[in-house]
């Protein structure tokens, strides 16, 4: 049966059946569940995803010391093609897409008309008129509404495309031994296509860890054989499958933000003051005022001109070793200045680090004498700590191997 032989009612009924599977399994689920020792799952965009597979700390050190395999299939993916694809994306997103060459990736974000960030993500230019946009939230109605007046095709391919992140110092060695000859030529943000069985795999030198690493996309049907190929080649290189807990630690070290964790996306925000402009979440560098008109341009440039930006995102280093997650930030220990959105003790930096959202002028004009109040739960009693916090540049961890070309083997 196909769309030609099914009635419209049948198709509607089939599309309704998603309610029978409220939690989807990713194309790699069979492998993940076999490796899962701790059964620690969470919900990532409707998919069952591992928070941890065997031990959070060891998983973290797989990313930083060997090679870690992380299933990114639940990441929302859109395919955007057509003669106007570049012009369309240039109007949609903040950066200048005309500067994005074929077989290159850039990190970008997009806003509504008020300049409030809808999401951030990565844009892959697979061909002159062919792009893939990867992000956290779903945006199909917005993408379709944005297409008025442009000759583009837009489709969601989250379910059809399986994705893996292979990250860590031995990730290149794994790919080399898995037979991806030439992958050493990939510089950061480069893309290349390789054969896998009778299909293709798209490899990009990208990731969310601040480490040497790659992201790999294959058609859903090839997911398991592709996993097995990497897994076999990875054994001598101590490859480990990991969950989000470990990945999250490395992304904080790398200073990356997560939508609806470090900021509330404009379409998800219920409260009028929760939305954020790019300049309020550290994404001012993405805004290109010199390119043609883009969504939010007027509002963003207006806010800069009128100095009406209300918030600022900063990296903090906090004294002591207790993570300050969701702690309140104070100025002079008294005046509330903002909130910590992500915090860890960084095993690599050996520092107590945090990402915080501050209300200006704290963080912009007043950058000294900042404190965080940590509520450390100790056997049903909060131990309240007032710790000094210092604004420091992000990333907190900078690894030469992330950008070394050709990449190292260990």
């Amino acid at each position: 049966m196909n769309a030609m032989t099914k009635s419209a009612a049948d198709l509607r009924r089939a599309a309704r059946d998603h309610i029978r599977a409220p939690r989807l399994e990713t194309p790699f689920h069979a492998r993940l569940t076999a490796l899962s020792e701790v059964n620690d799952w969470y919900d990532w965009a409707g998919y069952k995803a591992p928070h941890s597979l065997f031990d959070g700390e060891l998983e973290y050190f797989a990313i930083r010391s060997t090679a870690a395999l992380f299933d990114i299939s639940p990441m929302v993916k859109y395919r955007i093609t057509g003669p106007d694809a570049e012009r369309y994306l240039n109007r949609l997103t903040l950066r200048d897409v005309r500067k994005l060459a074929v077989n290159r990736v850039h990190y970008t974000a997009w806003c509504d008309d008020h300049g409030h960030v809808l999401d951030d993500g990565t844009l892959f230019r697979l061909a002159d008129q062919e792009f893939r946009l990867c992000c956290q939230e779903r945006h199909l109605p917005w993408l379709l509404d944005s297409a008025f007046g442009f000759c583009v095709d837009i489709s969601e391919e989250t379910e059809e495309i399986a994705g893996l992140a292979l990250q860590g110092p031995t990730s290149y060695a794994v790919l080399r031994d898995a037979g991806f000859a030439g992958v050493e030529r990939l510089k950061p943000f480069d893309i290349a296509a390789f054969p896998h069985e009778d299909a293709g795999v798209t490899v990009s030198r990208t990731g969310f860890t601040g480490d040497l690493g790659y992201e790999l996309f294959v058609p859903r049907a090839k997911a398991l054989s592709f996993w097995d190929r990497l897994w076999a080649a990875g054994q001598p290189h101590a490859i480990r499958a990991i969950g989000y807990g470990a990945l999250n630690q490395t992304r904080i070290e790398a200073g990356f933000i997560v939508a609806n964790a470090d900021f509330v996306t404009a379409e998800a925000a219920l409260r009028a003051d929760r939305v954020r402009m790019p300049d309020e979440i550290g994404l001012d560098w993405l805004v290109d005022p010199d390119k043609p008109n883009f969504n939010g341009r007027r509002a963003i440039l207006g806010a800069r001109r009128n100095q009406s930006l209300k918030h600022i995102l900063v990296g903090l280093e906090i004294e002591g070793n207790i993570p300050a997650e969701h702690a309140i930030v104070y100025h002079r220990q008294k005046r509330e200045a903002g909130l910590v959105t992500a915090a860890i003790w960084s095993p690599t930096a050996k520092r107590n680090i945090a990402i915080a959202s501050l209300e200006r002028p704290y963080g912009s004009k007043f950058t000294e004498d900042l404190w965080v109040e940590i509520y450390a739960m100790r056997e049903l009693k909060y131990q309240k700590l007032m710790k000094r916090a210092r604004i420091v540049p992000r990333p907190f961890v900078r690894l030469a191997r992330r950008t070394a070309s050709p990449p190292g083997l260990t």
Binding site: R87, N90, R91, L92, D112, D113, H114, W142, D145, S146, F148, G149, F150, P292, N293, N295, G296, R298
Partner: protein, 261 residues
Amino acid sequence: MPIAAGRAASFSPTGGIATSDGTEIAAPLVVSAIHPQTTFLHLVDPAESGTGFVRSVRNVRSFGNVAKLDLALDRIPSFEGLPAEARSGRIVLVRGMEQVETAFNPAKYGEFSPDPVMEITLPSLADPALAPAGGCTLSALVQYAPYRLKAGWETGKPAFLRIVLETLERHAPGIGTSVVAASLMTPVDIEAEYNLPGGHWHHGELQADQLLVNRPTGVASGYTTPIEGLYLASAGAHPGGGISGLPGWNAARHILSGERA
């Protein structure tokens, strides 16, 4: 200068308009007395507007529900119960509010009214040059005639014209035999003839969400638009249609005042 089939090159401060024959006219300021949907969806490159604004303009309700009847008559018609000297005024064929209400009901379901309400003038009485000596022109607005007629206007139009003429005949017996020529413009015809999206003679419905500071949409109200240097002055701007000239008057005052918003 007609710019019907044109596409404005850009409405940037140094922009202007480009006409369909390729002529470019530079102007620091452009005032559009064209339907807001035509203005922002076709004359301005949508890339120059934000997605949210384009979406709001596309969702302006602008489907016409009124047909326009024009008749050439070989004599001045007589309406039952209407003194001859009153024929130069506005003649409304309606039994009461109840009929207006029930005449609208079929339009909700994509059908024209089988018992329409009509608003008639005899223009040649005021301007004899419109008709040969002894003749007369009749112009009428007929309600309701939905833009999206379920049966389609190709078959619907002759049927509706028959009903309209029968309605006239009831109030002006013998008028049918005096018709020299008849033209009925449905909203679809009005759309095609005047390049007016939806064939709505008010450039968008006059309802609460499309009035005052919401006309045509919040962001483009007050004659200023999100496109720098581009202003609105059509019936699609406050206070709407009715040939009052007020949108243009207000737009001109606003622009001359030098206010931005």
